[in-house]
C-alpha cells in the first residue's frame, strides 16, 4: 500500500510551545484522525503539511513530493478545509467559485453546484452573510470539487451543531467512495473521529503520544471498574486516571490483553467490570497522566 502522506520528525519552535518529532503516515485510501486538546499542535502540524508554516525540523512528502518545492502540483491534489474559513468577504459565492476554479487542473462545476444545492447555499449569496456552518460547507464544496486524492481537514466540525456535523461527516464518507482517497482529519470532538477514521494519532503537548488503528485502540484500551480489594488490590497500580465510582473504583488500562487473565477471577465474581475506553478516555489519560 503506497503512502499519500509521510511526515517525519517535524518540529517547530514557538515562544512557550514546541512541536517535537511529529511523524505521521497516511496510506492511500486511509482515514487518519488527529486528536488532541486545544493548543496541542494539531493546527500547526496541518499548517506545516499545507506549507503555510515552515517546519524548523523534519521532512514532509505528499504524493512522494516535497510540498514546499512542488506546491502547485501537491495542492492541486489536496482538498483543504481549515479551522477558520477565509474568503474575500465582499465577493459572492459565484465569484469565489470562478476565482478558485481557475487554480485547479480539474474543476467539476457541476459537482460544486450539486454540493451547494445539497448544502442549501445560494450562488448569489455574499460571503460575508454566510453563517459559520455555511462557510464550512462552502469550504468543503471547494475542497471536493477538484477531485482531490487527499483531504486535509483541520477541526472542520468545531463549533457546529450536531445536524451540520453529521451532514459534513456523511459527505466525507461519500468522498472516500472507492477507497482510493485518503483523509487526514483533526478534531477534539472524538465522536467525529470515531465515526469516520481508520486510525488515530493522539497529539499532546506537541508530541504524537499514540498512533494506532482504531480497532487496536478499542481492543487494548479499556476502562476497568473494580471493587476495592479486587485482584489483590494491585489493579490500581497499573491503571491511569483512577477515580472513585459508584461501582467502587475505575481506571483506564492501555494493555488490557496483558491483564485479562489477572482480571478473570474478578470478572467471574462480579468484582471487576470492563468496558471499552472512549477516545476521550484515551486522550484524558494522556493529558492527565497516571
Amino acid at each position: 500500500m503506497d503512502n499519500v502522506l509521510e511526515a517525519r520528525n517535524l518540529g517547530k519552535e514557538y515562544a512557550g510551545f514546541a512541536l517535537r518529532d511529529v511523524s505521521l503516515t497516511i496510506p492511500r485510501g486511509y482515514i487518519l484522525g488527529l486528536i488532541g486538546p486545544n493548543g496541542s499542535g494539531k493546527t500547526t502540524t496541518i499548517r506545516m503539511l499545507m506549507n503555510m508554516v515552515k517546519p524548523s525540523a523534519g521532512e514532509i512528502k505528499i504524493f512522494g513530493m516535497d510540498p514546499a518545492e512542488n506546491e502547485k502540483a501537491v495542492k492541486d491534489r489536496i482538498g483543504f478545509v481549515g479551522d477558520e474559513q477565509f474568503y474575500y468577504e465582499n465577493r459572492s459565492v459565484a465569484w469565489t467559485e470562478e476565482f478558485v476554479s481557475r487554480f485547479f487542473e480539474k474543476w467539476d462545476g457541476e459537482l460544486f453546484n450539486r454540493l451547494l444545492g445539497g448544502f442549501g447555499i445560494e450562488r448569489r449569496a455574499a460571503i460575508r452573510k454566510l453563517s459559520k456552518g455555511m462557510r464550512v460547507k462552502l469550504s468543503i464544496a471547494i475542497a471536493l470539487s477538484h477531485d482531490p486524492e487527499l483531504l486535509i481537514l483541520d477541526e472542520p466540525t468545531a463549533g457546529l451543531d450536531p445536524v451540520i456535523r453529521r451532514e459534513i461527516l456523511d459527505r466525507l464518507m461519500e468522498f472516500r467512495g472507492n477507497e482510493e482517497r485518503s483523509i487526514l482529519i483533526s478534531s477534539h470532538i472524538t465522536d467525529d473521529i470515531m465515526r469516520v477514521a481508520d486510525g488515530v494519532a493522539f497529539i499532546v503537548d506537541g508530541r504524537v503520544v499514540l498512533r494506532d488503528e482504531k480497532d487496536s485502540i478499542a481492543a487494548d484500551w479499556k476502562r476497568i471498574h473494580f471493587r476495592p480489594g479486587a485482584a489483590g488490590g494491585r489493579l490500581s497500580a497499573g491503571l491511569s486516571c483512577v477515580k472513585e465510582s459508584a461501582f467502587g473504583h475505575s481506571g483506564i488500562t492501555r494493555e488490557y490483553s496483558k491483564i485479562r487473565e489477572e482480571l478473570a477471577p474478578g470478572l467471574a465474581s462480579g468484582d471487576v467490570r470492563v468496558e471499552n475506553a472512549t477516545l476521550d478516555d484515551v486522550l484524558i489519560s494522556f493529558v492527565k497522566g497516571e
Binding site: M50, K54, K75, D76, G82, F86, Y87, F99, F103
Partner: protein
Amino acid sequence: MTMFEIVRKNIFRYVTPPLGVFAVMAIYAFSSGINNPVNFAGLLGIVTFIVTLAPALVIEMEEERNKGYAFLATLPVAIRDVVRVKFMMTFFSILALGAAGLALLASIGLPGYLLSESAKTLSLGIAFCLIFESIILVLALRFGSAPALVVLLFTTLMLNILTFVVASAGFAGGSIVTIAGKIFSAVPWPFAAILLAAGVAVFLMMIPVGARVKESRIV
C-alpha cells in the same frame, strides 16, 4: 494561468488610479500649458509615487482584512509567486507612468535643454519611486500595510521638518519639491541614469525579499 488570476483579480485597482490621474495631468498640460516643465516633471514623479503605491497598499489592506494569503495558501499557488506578481504589477505601473510622463513632456514641444532637464528630473523621481516603494511594500508584507503607511507618513513628516530647518537656516527656500528640484538639477545626466538603473535593480532585488518575508508569515 494561476498568475493570470492574481493579475485579473487586481488589475482594475492597479490600472485605474494611474490612468485617471495621468489623464487629468495630460489634459491640464495640453489645455493650460506648462510654465515650469522641470517642476511639472517633479510633480509627475510625486504623482507616480502616490498613484502606484496607493493601490498596492490598498490591495495589501484587503488581503489583511480577508486573510487573503491564508485563503490563497489553500489553493495550488505558491505565495512567493503571488508576491512576485504583485511586485511586478507595481513595477510595470511605475515604469509605464514614467514612460507616459516622458511621452507627455516630449509631446508638448519643449526646447531641447528643458526637455532634457525635465526628463532627468522625472527619471530621478522614478528612481526614488522604485527604491522607496519596494521598501514600503516589503515593510507592508512584514508588518502590515498600516504600519508601513505610518512609516511613510513619518518619513514625509521628517522630510518636511528637514525642509523647514534648511529653509530657516537660509540654505534654500520653498517647499520640499523646490529643494528636491534644486538637488535634482545639480545631478548630471549620467548619474541620473545610473540612479534610475539602481532603482530598477533595488526594486527587482526586493522582490525575493518580499516573497520570503510573506512566505514566513502566511498565517
